[in-house]
Symmetry: C2
Subunit: 374 residues, 2 copies
């Protein structure tokens, strides 16, 4: 499939589809209702929580099912804003997904500190320790892997700095789950996941909460999710999400050198085929599936349109930001001027992407580049 936008969304994994159908057909009762078929649905819900914890680490009761990463991130900052004094501050990286950045700034207006980034795509942590020492910080948020550049962030180091100061640490891992082993994230106090980024259905995700933060409460109006989040549980989607993550888990390894080789060949050839292209974060640790590059000429929107005519689907950056039409805030945080950001293209592969797909994409990029030159 000539689809290279897996960081935007993924097709439903067959295992997820099968579980969704089975659950929607046979376990559609309200898990909170008081009869046996509902109790069965409730048992399946708790089983899903146990299975998620088995692959993603931590205890089952650490996991709160939500409608997706955006809800998880919004609910988290809202929770901390409600329980903290008016002087409380949040610290988030400037590279975060808008659902973290905007949730922080909405709930901690004028009280959100942004961590700046290097040209390499890595966040700068050198100021984090001093920022934490000033007190008043109630939450730090740093993503596991950037959705645009794929650059893996030093979340372990940030976690240790937070731990030393007793400050809760949140990791938005929407792009990590399904691509790298999940259980290492469980040491974070809060972790965000989104099913449709790893072959699960849209409209479902989770927030892992710390055992020390059992007061967490998202949307109110019922005792569902162990009192953490009201609303009738979306059992078919929840079970399908867990099935998708389980399906990918055996393939996940901390050493992704094997998976990276196809991309490495592609990137080397890309620099030949499109002279002047700049690979973003080329020397940084990155997700094995993502290449972001700045084209030497023409707006990224033109590249995307012409590649689409050649049946290759890539992106100009985050799908969430598409409506805004502004240049990427991620590239801006890394110090790229708007002019360069408007030539940025994101390529993100999936587990089913073949070497032939990479070759085809390269050929299409070369063709489009040639069309621009003429």
């Amino acid at each position: 499939m000539p689809y290279f936008d897996y960081n935007a969304t993924t097709p439903l994994h067959p295992a997820a589809l099968a579980v969704w159908l089975e659950t929607a057909g046979q376990a559609w009762h309200n898990p909170s209702s008081p009869y046996r078929s509902a109790a069965h649905a409730h048992a399946l819900l708790e089983e899903a929580r146990e299975r998620l914890a088995a692959v993603a680490g931590g205890a089952p009761e650490d996991y709160v099912f939500t409608s997706g990463a955006t809800e998880s991130n919004n609910a988290l900052f809202d929770y901390f804003a409600r329980k903290s004094p008016p002087s409380a501050r949040a610290v988030v990286s400037a590279l975060e997904h808008p659902s973290v950045l905007e949730a922080a700034q909405s709930r901690f207006p004028q009280r959100t500190t942004l961590l700046r980034a290097e040209r390499s795509g890595l966040v700068r942590l050198n100021n984090l320790e001093s920022t934490l020492s000033q007190g008043n910080v109630v939450l730090v948020s740093l993503m596991a892997a950037n959705n645009e550049t794929g650059v893996l962030q030093p979340w372990r180091e940030a976690l240790q700095l937070c731990r030393a100061k007793g400050v809760p640490f949140h990791c938005d891992a929407a792009q990590w789950f399904g691509k790298l082993p999940a259980d290492v994230l469980a040491e974070c106090d809060f972790v965000t996941g989104s099913a449709h980024k790893f072959g699960g259905p849209k409209g479902v995700g989770f927030l892992k909460i710390s055992p020390n933060q059992r007061g967490f409460h998202g949307q109110c109006g019922g005792e569902q999710e162990h009192g953490h989040r009201a609303g009738t549980e979306n059992l078919p989607a929840i079970r399908a999400m867990v099935a998708a993550l389980e399906a990918y888990t055996p393939r996940l390894t901390p050493n992704t050198a094997g998976w990276e080789s196809a991309r490495a060949s592609f990137e080397a050839a890309l620099l030949m085929a499109v002279p002047g292209a700049i690979i973003i974060g080329a020397n940084s640790p990155r997700l094995w599936n993502t290449t972001m590059f700045i084209a030497p000429r023409e707006a990224n929107t033109r590249w995307v349109t012409l590649l689409d005519k050649h049946d290759f689907q890539i992106s100009t950056g985050s799908a969430c930001a598409t409506g805004k039409e502004g240049p990427s805030h991620v590239l801006a945080a890394m110090g790229f001027p708007p002019d360069a950001a408007r030539r940025a293209l994101r390529i993100s592969a999936g587990w089913d992407t073949t070497p032939a797909d990479w070759d085809g994409l390269l050929a299409a990029l070369a063709k489009v580049h040639a069309e621009f030159k003429n």
Copy 2:
């Protein structure tokens, strides 16, 4: 099917299932991505909005898709709390679903006025006009039909009182959609709907917003839903929800006397079979599908368990409140003591419920009653 808990949730309508499968299989791309297949998904999203408006009234751009009624209600009160001065008040009926009651009290702490109810199950509006005259009220919320008793509320009158004072009016119509014609609700400023109450999937719903309230904004972090609600759109569920509502719409009529006759026969026979039973809201306008009654003896939980053994599924009240184990706040608001509320049973039928199902339920109730007497 001996299922009499349609007010808790409903099985997926075959039309909804077919559309979900088609969409998840063929239009799974991120509607915000910049290529043709994503543009197709985006077009389907806007088509769903148009079709929803066609059956539920108003303009397509009035509809914001959410993860369900609980999100819709929470987001609404959060929006008004954020945009209003600290002295602003909300007015909600004491009969509301917890997702309205608790959202109001969470966002307007000590500034939420509760409208009391009559023993009949109807809210009292006699104080609303004077409450509105005192000023400071920024939002009034009254449900269309109560989820426990089925009693239809005087939302039209409340709307007129609010209109006269220029105060926005919200109607939680989660139990109305799919049972009564939807388009009459469109005159309300805000309307909440939930797909799984009318044969749609779980995890999806909507909030209809007033053209005068285009500043509405729920969870943040992206420009989806015309800027009203961030998060990757759950297109399969959205399209399936609209398909379910369309499927039921031809059956909906303001005059439900025909549908009510099966229930009327059931209720008359119930009072004979279980002497001393009290039908709640017997003389009030009610949803055609709902009977709530107070049993003369034994806790409602025992009734439910024994009926379940006879394969009939009914409820003790709202599924959302089951975890709480306290007596119904709805019956309390109507003046019933806790002792009576603990004997309350809710029966809610669906479009596929047959006269034979009603007869079967009656026989089962009589049997259980006889078992209690022995």
